[in-house]
């Protein structure tokens, strides 16, 4: 009974939905504000992401003709649920869920679910733009997952265990640095930010793969994206930032590190233009592959 409660708390409160949604909105606001300031603009007000989601919750849902209603409405729910569950696994300080053997594998699996949901959402919508976006997202996920998975797996290799706690307790070394660089290579594409914002290229294909979504399902997709941003930054912080013995200090360090990573990624997004799909694919399989190879080699050499 106690274990069930701890899982519920982890998913619903900390570090799950109740914590991640406001933090995600804060981080999204930070990104939008930073982009605006870098472009010399004023930028959105502080509560803007919150208002966006609340407004979408109050809107009507238009379901296109000939679309399976069940799948159409289930996809955003599955996406939010998967991202929240993934965040509940991340061993942030104070997380009530005990670390299970093999939870890294579960985490990596759950992190693929929102991508899968986006691809399916594009194909389900019967919109030609949605299908192009879904195709781009699917192909891109084949590219950026190489460095992303290798960065985590290399850490597991060093730790000798597929357990988040073990990953956290690896003594700091060269592999950390190499794996962090490999992880950061994959981060812009995972966050759908500019040089790799190919699947949500609003100038080319009008919108991302949820082009046909409106109202609460779209709000759930926005929420899912906000939580995914939190998940990615906090995962980076938890795995690659050395932990101190004090949980509260750890928490502050993780949050600050997450904001810093976001700032760097946003800076990259503002300075660069969008690549083509082939260019992004080649980038990830040449340079991402190279970084992955070096990281894996470093784990073996040690």
């Amino acid at each position: 009974m106690n274990a069930v409660w701890s899982y519920l708390v982890a998913i619903a409160v900390w570090p799950g939905l109740l914590f991640a949604a406001p933090l995600g909105w804060l981080e999204l606001w930070f990104m939008r504000k930073l982009v605006a300031r870098l472009q010399g603009r004023q930028g959105p007000p502080f509560f803007q992401p919150f208002f966006d989601v609340m407004k979408l919750l109050g809107k009507e849902t238009v379901i296109p003709r000939g679309v399976s209603r069940g799948i159409f409405l289930a996809l955003p729910l599955v996406s939010v649920a998967a991202v929240t569950a993934a965040l509940a696994i991340v061993p942030l300080p104070g997380n009530p869920v005990p670390s299970l053997p093999g939870d890294v594998v579960l985490l990596l699996y759950l992190m693929e679910v929102p991508v899968l949901c986006e691809v399916l959402a594009g194909y389900v919508s019967r919109s030609i733009y949605g299908q192009v976006a879904a195709m781009r997202e699917a192909i891109l996920s084949l590219a950026y997952n190489l460095p992303f998975l290798v960065a985590i797996i290399a850490m597991a290799q060093v730790a000798g265990s597929f357990q988040m706690r073990a990953l956290q307790e690896v003594p700091y070394g060269l592999v950390h640095l190499l794996a962090a660089v490999t992880f950061l290579l994959a981060l812009p594409a995972r966050m759908k930010l500019n040089p790799f914002s190919i699947a949500n290229a609003e100038h080319e294909i009008i919108a991302d793969s949820h082009i046909e979504y409106s109202g609460p399902p779209l709000a759930l997709f926005k929420l899912s994206h906000a939580i995914e941003v939190v998940l990615l930054t906090e995962l980076f912080a938890v795995v690659f930032i050395p932990a101190t013995p004090w949980p509260l200090v750890n928490l502050v360090v993780y949050l600050v590190a997450g904001i810093l990573v976001l700032g760097g990624v946003t800076l990259l997004a503002t300075t660069t233009a969008r690549l083509r799909l082939t260019q992004a694919f080649r980038f990830y399989w040449v340079w991402g592959g190279l970084a992955s190879a070096i990281t894996m080699a470093a784990t073996l050499v040690r």
Binding site: F51, G58, T61, V62
Partner: protein, 169 residues
């Protein structure tokens, strides 16, 4: 419950997403929308976002004369915008046809006869600040539930404008 409705109403004013619809415009009004996203006017400070798809939009900006071909497209796109929605007519053309009135392929009549228009922004083309003001006004109407589509829905009267303009239907 009342609190949530209030928050949603405020959100409608604070986050109006716009979708641009060119009904046969000379592009003058469309070009004046672009500065809204520039550093000088920065529509994002009001929470305005330009979206390409009507499914994500709250406010449709319609510019240009109504032509025989664009009439049906306007109706289709308007129906795709999820409720609650507002329509802002940009410039002189939607209200009368402007200099194109009387051309054989132009419906020389007001946009009001096709879709319910909430705010008219005069100008040829309107200045960006006038467009910004028009959008802010439409967003305020959305918050108050006072757009024509919202009022028609609350009255439960099928007061969709009959498209009598141009051709007998």
């Amino acid at each position: 419950m009342n609190l949530i409705e209030r928050v949603i109403a405020i959100s409608r004013r604070r986050s109006p997403w716009i979708c641009r619809l060119n009904a046969g415009s000379c592009n003058g009004c469309d070009i004046e929308i672009t500065p809204l996203l520039s550093p000088r006017y920065d529509a994002e400070q009001l929470g305005i976002e330009l979206h390409g798809t009507p499914k994500h939009a709250d406010i449709v900006l319609i510019s240009g004369t109504l032509t025989l071909r664009s009439r049906q497209a306007i109706l289709d796109i308007y129906d795709q915008v999820p409720n609650p929605k507002a329509v802002v007519a940009l410039g002189s053309c939607p209200s009368s046809g402007n200099v194109f009135a009387g051309s054989p392929l132009v419906l020389s009549c007001s946009l009001d006869t096709v879709v319910p228009v909430d705010v008219w922004v005069p100008g040829c083309p309107p200045r960006p600040q006038a467009i910004l003001d028009g959008i802010a006004r439409a967003a305020k109407l959305l918050e108050d539930g006072a757009t024509k589509s919202q009022l028609a829905k609350s009255r439960l009267a099928g007061s969709q404008p009959e498209s009598r303009c141009g051709r007998p239907s």
